[in-house]
């Protein structure tokens, strides 16, 4: 999707009709719209968002008041609409959303062919094919709320990201292909009238019937958990605002971050121990047998087959030179020569010697692993115990903090604490329910895999049903190929994401921080030089979030998708950002601006004059196509009120005017 033109009519603060062009000028595709607070930047972002989705960004105030007040006062029949012209896959479209009543709107979509317009049925669904519901927030962004972007790897985050990159459709296809497989397998079982196949297939189908609802429930619980966590954070922020609870809450947040990291370490150590036991167990079991076996090797060596007393090479040398090592001649065809020739049957060879050596090394390894097993295991267990002790200490400290907070004689704090405790308990319950469910899902998936294997073995024993078996094999082959390709593409996309994030961080941050993406959860961590986590809410964390958004959008964009060779098309849409730099430290603003412009296919920035410093101007000036300014007009007298100005290309522009006909926002092209 590429936006070409926006037309707003009596929308929010905009009286009458206003047009903004987004078409690139000489290949420059960045559009900048300047405006002070209250001039209508967020309204413009929401005009685009609402037109396409029918929804608003979360921080828009009074979303029910869409019709411009002055227009409505003058003419109660005045029309309020937003119209967007955009191109998608070489076709041009015009989308228009019109206010019908206080809570209703009408959405129309037409294809544009010159002057001809053809209506599209089910217009909203058509737009959702281009930008799926739920993904719009990745492209039309209230950047003041960037702090709320969670990079902590929730299921919703992972799902949305995979959807942006087009991976979810591949998942859906695999799911359907597995159903195709089941259908064919059932067909085979019926055709050959096999009781065993029928039974196995019934079990597979029973599990397959439960799995989707289990996965759905998993999604629901995950979002419930996210909501409960968000509410806890809100309460903790409130506690941080109150002077009496502030230091205690800050200490608690630090401790909880430490606890989270220790809990992750515990999981890691438990995995390491399980891996170690799995790898070392065979050696420990075999060690008692290894010593006698090794002894046996040396016993056999003395009987002649093993390395000494002679080798194939020695026998061949004697025969070639027709001379024994004792100096006697051994003529070709003589009895001696035949006798020596017969020795080749028992002579050792180089490869035979190598095989024996390998067995000896293997036996040695078995012995070493077995000898070292107790020590290594106790080292792991010691680390685990130390980690658990630290968790217990942190828990004690957390308890003490809770106690201190309870002792503060302040109703508001007490109330917040009670709410927090209840929410934490609720989150714990959800979490434990989620863990059980995830465990069940994993078990069911493993069971299906196992049953499929049993089905395969049973069907191989059948002497007929070849035509259906052939079809089954084709489907299996495809599932295998698509699963493998998806895995490769996902890995590649994550590697590219991480490389790019680190390139941006190393180029723009003054500190030596690096980003790490967990391939399982998609959690993005910012780490310092010692590998410790750096808060995502720090100035550097905000840079990371911008870098993440732009990299994902760039990766999904047409200009980079062939580098991944995606099986399915990712979502391609412009990046529209309201107040992108207000949440950033000034030292990072120009670099983020430069990166945003370089990475996105189309960029629309809504900026205040404060965010338009020399550094940002320098970073963007060579990429700007269209530029607009929002002027805030007031009907009231100026009196002592200030007139705000900003300088653009040396020209002074007034950003607000007084003594006007009405209160309104006006869009002016520069």
């Amino acid at each position: 999707m590429f936006l070409r033109r926006l037309r707003v009519n009596n929308f929010r603060g905009f009286y009458g009709e206003h047009v903004i062009e987004f078409d690139p000028v000489d290949g420059k595709s960045v559009t900048v719209i300047h405006g002070e607070n209250g001039a209508g930047k967020t309204n413009l972002l929401n005009a685009i968002f609402w037109c396409l989705t029918g929804a608003f960004t979360p921080r828009l105030s009074n979303p029910e008041l869409l019709i411009n007040k002055a227009a409505h006062d003058e003419d109660r029949e005045s029309e309020c609409f937003v119209e967007l012209i955009f191109t998608h896959e070489s076709h041009e479209y015009v989308a228009r959303r019109t206010v019908v009543s206080r809570i209703e709107s009408r959405f129309d979509l037409h294809t544009l062919d010159g002057e001809t317009r053809k209506p599209i049925q089910k217009a909203q669904l058509f737009v959702e094919r281009i930008i799926p519901k739920g993904l719009a927030r990745w492209f039309f962004f209230d950047a003041e709320a960037i702090g709320e972007l969670e990079l902590s790897g929730s299921e919703q985050f992972r799902r949305e990201l995979r959807r942006v990159l087009g991976f979810e459709l591949v998942d859906a296809l695999i799911e359907d292909l597995e159903k195709c497989l089941s259908k064919k397998q059932r067909g085979l079982a019926t055709a050959v009238n096999s009781k065993e196949l029928n039974e196995i297939q019934t079990k597979i189908e029973n599990i397959e019937f439960i799995l989707p609802s289990q996965r759905e429930k998993e999604e629901d619980l995950d979002s419930e958990l996210k909501q409960a966590d968000a509410e806890v954070i809100k309460i903790e922020n409130a506690l941080r605002e109150l002077p009496q609870s502030k230091p205690l809450q800050e200490q608690r947040s630090r401790l909880e971050a430490r606890r989270k990291s220790r809990v992750a370490t515990r999981k890691e150590l438990q995995d390491q121990i399980a891996r170690f036991i799995g790898e070392a167990a065979p050696a420990v079991l075999l060690a008692p047998l290894a010593i006698p076996f090794e002894n046996q090797l040396y016993v056999k060596e003395n009987t002649g087959r093993l390395p000494a007393p002679y080798s194939q090479q020695l026998v061949e040398d004697i025969l070639r030179e027709s001379m024994c090592i004792c100096g006697r001649p051994v003529p070709d065809g003589s009895i001696e020569a035949d006798k020596i020739q017969s020795l080749l049957r028992t002579a050792s060879t180089t490869s035979f010697n190598a095989r024996v050596r390998n067995i000896q090394y293997l036996l040695k390894d078995i012995q070493n692993i077995s000898d070292d097993y107790d020590n290594s295991l106790s080292t792991f267990i010691k680390k685990l115990e130390e980690n658990d002790t630290e968790i217990a200490e942190i828990d004690d400290e957390l308890k003490a903090i809770k106690q201190k907070l309870a002792e503060i004689d302040e109703d508001s704090i007490r109330e917040l604490e009670v709410k927090r405790t209840n929410l934490r308990a609720k989150a714990r319950d959800i979490h434990s329910g989620l863990s059980i469910l995830q465990n069940n899902i994993t078990n069911n998936e493993a069971q299906v895999k196992d049953l499929r294997l049993r089905y395969d073995n049973a069907s191989k024993r059948l002497g007929h049903g070849d035509a259906i078996k052939k079809e089954i094999n084709k489907i299996k082959h495809l599932i295998e190929y698509i699963t493998q390709t998806l895995h490769e593409q996902e890995t590649r996309a994550l590697v590219l994401l991480q490389v790019e994030l680190n390139r941006i961080l190393s180029r723009y941050l003054t500190k030596h921080f690096r980003a790490k993406i967990n391939p399982k959860t998609y959690e993005v961590d910012l780490l310092d030089t010692q590998g410790r986590q750096v808060g995502r809410s720090t100035g550097e964390g905000q840079v990371l979030k911008f870098a993440f958004i732009t990299t994902v959008v760039a990766l999904a964009g047409k200009k980079t998708q062939e580098k991944i060779n995606f099986l399915a098309d990712p979502t391609v849409a412009p990046l529209v950002l309201d107040a992108p730099f207000s949440a950033l430290d000034p030292e990072y603003q120009s670099s983020v601006a430069e990166n945003l412009a370089a990475q996105s296919t189309q960029l629309i920035l809504l900026l205040s004059s404060a965010a338009w410093g020399d550094a940002v101007a320098n970073a963007l000036s060579s990429r700007i196509g269209h530029r607009y300014v929002l002027i805030s007009r007031q009907s009231g007298k100026r009196e002592n009120k200030p007139v705000k100005t900003m300088k653009i290309d040396g020209k002074k522009i007034n950003l607000n005017e007084y003594d006007c006909e009405r209160d309104e926002s006006v869009i002016q092209e520069l």
Binding site: L125, L169, D176, Q599
Partner: protein, 68 residues
């Protein structure tokens, strides 16, 4: 290294990989996989979504036509 360079490098790598290591069988599988994905996308498109049974039947039909 700029991101463009990185992307170019990866693109070249993928192309080389595809040319050198993709067997005829893989090429065919890739082609069929993409056809099935397009079919799946159309069958799940908002407004014209098909039922699961319908999707399965059409996929089976499409696979039967392909020689893999």
């Amino acid at each position: 290294m700029s991101i463009e360079d990185l992307f170019n490098e990866v693109a070249a790598e993928i192309k080389a990989e595809q040319q050198q290591s993709m067997t005829d069988e893989d090429r065919k599988l890739h082609e069929v996989a993409q056809k099935l994905l397009m079919l799946e996308r159309d069958m799940r498109a908002p407004g014209s979504a098909r039922s699961m049974d319908d999707r399965v039947d059409r996929l089976i039909e499409a696979i039967a036509k392909e020689k893999i």
